[in-house]
Amino acid sequence: MSETTPILRMSGISKSFPGVKALQEVHFEVARGEIHALVGENGAGKSTLMKILTGAYRPDSGQIAWHGRPVTIASPSDSQTLGISMIHQELSLLPYLTVGQNIFLGREPQGRLPGFINWQALYAQAQELLERLSLDVKPRAEARELSIAQQQMVEVAKALSLQADLIAMDEPTSSLTDVETEVLFTMMRALKAQGVAIVFISHRLEEVFEITDRVTVLRDGRHIDTRPTSDLTRDKIVELMVGRELGNIYPYHPTEQRDLVLEVSDLCDGRELKNVSFQLHGGEILGIAGLIGAGRTALAETLFGIRPATGGHIKLAGQPSKIRSPKQAIQHGLGFVPEDRKQQGLFLNMAVRENITMSGMGLVTNAGFVDNKKANGLAQKFVEKLDVRTPNLRQNIRNLSGGNQQKVIIARWLTLSPRILILDEPTRGVDVGAKAEIHALMRQLAEQGVGVLMISSELPEVLGVSDRILVMHEGRITGELSRDEATQDQIMVAATGGVENVVK
């Protein structure tokens, strides 16, 4: 791999924002035809480095060499011209435009008259690209009609159409299921064989080991190390990332199980859920695995009253209940940490205190009037208890890291002392340190007798944290596994509709 000049060499890159040194003298090299992992905790500087590479930011100092020649990248179009392409974590397709329009957005083939677009040529080229990737997607389909995985693949097609020599992928698998991830990996290997270099950013270390050739670790804006992946172990990477040894990522202490807190039988929502039945005990962490679209989020949302149930029964602590709104769910002792923190959880322009007390407003008001002393006291108590790293309670939640934001949302529920806490992808986009803290917190809650329902697409997390695992497939529960017997293989069989261990 070292026989030629690297395709990309970034050296001595520094970048500061008011009050923060985001990058200090960072060195980063990618070879042709290499899949290079870029890892680090949130805030380590990965995205800043990528934004400098793609021209969204200008570095304060440092050089970039492309194919051995120094270049200046001043704008996104500069980097595109060089052959650098970025696939962002948030999908960047326009839902109401067609696949073809999306692929060639900003680079439409010129029609006969100036200013006009040659639609025929555009769709023909799009078709060709899609075929090259063996994607079963029509170029004239609107992007919103595609599944998330298909959209992800269209992004890859877009990157390819740019004749990119280097594609940077920021957490491309975070919203993909394992099967879809495999499809993406197959495609990445094919690209690699064609000599395309790929920068792969992921929090999922299993994937780093599966797909990458080398790993670069950033910490606190500094370059820590770059090594061949095969020389590393998972523990070693984590140690490099956090600067200390973490020990076992998933320490497990079983808790004593108590009475049933939740019994669900034949729950349907008329669309995605089909006769779901299960039970949850106090003191138990019940993991729910499955592919995207298997109905896991639908189950959580139906339990929490966000979407209506069309059939079936829910019993809470033995009592039949009809929950029709989140408000009623909360009154019945439920809490829900949603999947999409920014869209569904946070009040981004509000302070930490308001974000914590919003659901438990009754606890801090007298006759509807907010008692500041009570509100501060309550928020402070949970900031300390969950070790939320914030300068003070007045701090805008926007300025906290992903892990701390997630802790604030969990704190919001803990103020209400829930009997059941549902967490949907609780550690998505959360760095390794905070992830372990959140897992420990879930265990602590279980020890206090809370029934914890955890939805996760990360199999190691499901296997490492849960006491018991349910697997969903197409709106049904297709597997129930105890902690001791569960393996990744068994979960995948059930998640893809296999018949082993089918309940009922």
């Binding site: 109401y96 900003g106 680079r107």
Partner: protein, 319 residues
């Protein structure tokens, strides 16, 4: 999060795609049954004439709404351009066509200022154009000294009242505006980028689209169509009124909204806008023919607006 594989029933799909046309035909059918005068050639031409000016302004508005913007200033810009055209022609004796060209340029300039306030000043379109609504109306009052400007010549008046092959000129302008707007939105880069900018400005910018220019462009277009509408209105009325077109911005917004164009941007077509404008035009024409008092017409108009949007949302949600 939810899977995307609900296949809509063909009926719902049909309803969704053609809901505006169905409403339009439905309303027309009711009036055709209610009044025998409704479905005559002369009445239909009359409806087209009544609708033409607001349709032209609404087509410019459509561009701004497609970028998730809005232009509240069109009524005032109409008044100012009409006054300028008449004033330059009558007072400054610049010659009708010179005066009209300058007035059109004036409308474009006001649109340009709207666009720059939004892009450079980072003002929400609602607020920037609300400020322009006040400023342009004030300038009209100042320029006209609060009195109508009359005495425009025949060539000017012909623009609003003349006919070519039996078709009133404003209707011809409307058809031309429609053809141009349709082609621009469907076949040009600019049109494509209008949809992209409205769909998601950030993504569009990352794709290398100069969204600031697109945004400024749509407000210039809206300023130009408003100016054209204002000039045609002055021509039709034989004079420029200082209070002309007050409140017309609301009809110019109602037409695209009735035509299924989302206020959130990125969705809809100028065909919808024209149909929306005709729904409004047919409503008032038909209700007049049926002898419904104009006061009631307002109530009916409001109800139709809300119901049409509800129907549109309902069919879309059914997908």
């Amino acid at each position: 999060m939810s899977s995307n594989n609900h296949t809509p029933s063909p009926l719902v799909e049909l309803l969704r795609r053609y809901s505006v046309l169905i409403i339009l035909i439905g309303i027309a059918a009711i009036f055709a049954l209610g009044s025998e005068k409704f479905l005559t050639a002369s009445n239909l031409l009359n409806i087209a004439l009544q609708t033409s000016i607001i349709a032209i302004v609404a087509m410019g508005m459509t561009f701004t709404i497609l970028t998730a913007g809005i232009d509240l200033s069109v009524g005032s810009v109409m008044a100012l351009s009409g006054a300028l055209a008449a004033g330059l022609a009558v007072r400054q004796e610049l010659g009708t066509y010179t005066a009209i060209t300058l007035a059109l340029a004036g409308g474009g300039l006001l649109g340009l200022i709207n666009g720059l306030l939004i892009v450079k000043g980072k003002m929400p379109p609602f607020v920037a154009t609300l400020a322009m609504l006040a400023v342009a109306r004030g300038l009209t009052l100042v320029y006209t000294d609060g009195r109508p400007i009359s005495g425009i010549d025949e060539r000017f008046i012909f623009l609003g009242n003349g006919e070519v092959l039996g078709v009133p000129l404003p209707v011809i302008f409307m058809i031309l505006a429609f053809i141009i707007a349709f082609i621009v939105l469907r076949y040009t880069r600019f049109g494509m980028y209008v949809y992209a900018t409205g769909g998601n400005e950030e993504i569009s910018r990352l794709a290398g689209i100069q969204t600031a220019r697109i945004t400024v462009g749509v407000y210039v277009i809206s300023g130009l169509t408003a100016a054209l509408g204002g000039i045609l209105l002055a021509a039709r009325l034989w004079s420029a009124q200082p209070n002309a077109a007050a409140g017309w911005e609301l009809d110019a917004i109602a037409a695209p909204v009735l035509g299924g164009i989302s206020l959130f941007g990125g969705v809809g077509s100028v065909t919808g806008t024209v149909m929306g404008a005709f729904i409004l035009g047919i409503l008032s024409n038909g209700l007049n023919l049926m002898g419904v008092q104009s006061f009631y017409q307002q109530i009916i108009k409001g109800v139709v607006l809300i119901l049409a949007v509800m129907l549109d949302l309902f069919t879309k949600r059914r997908r």
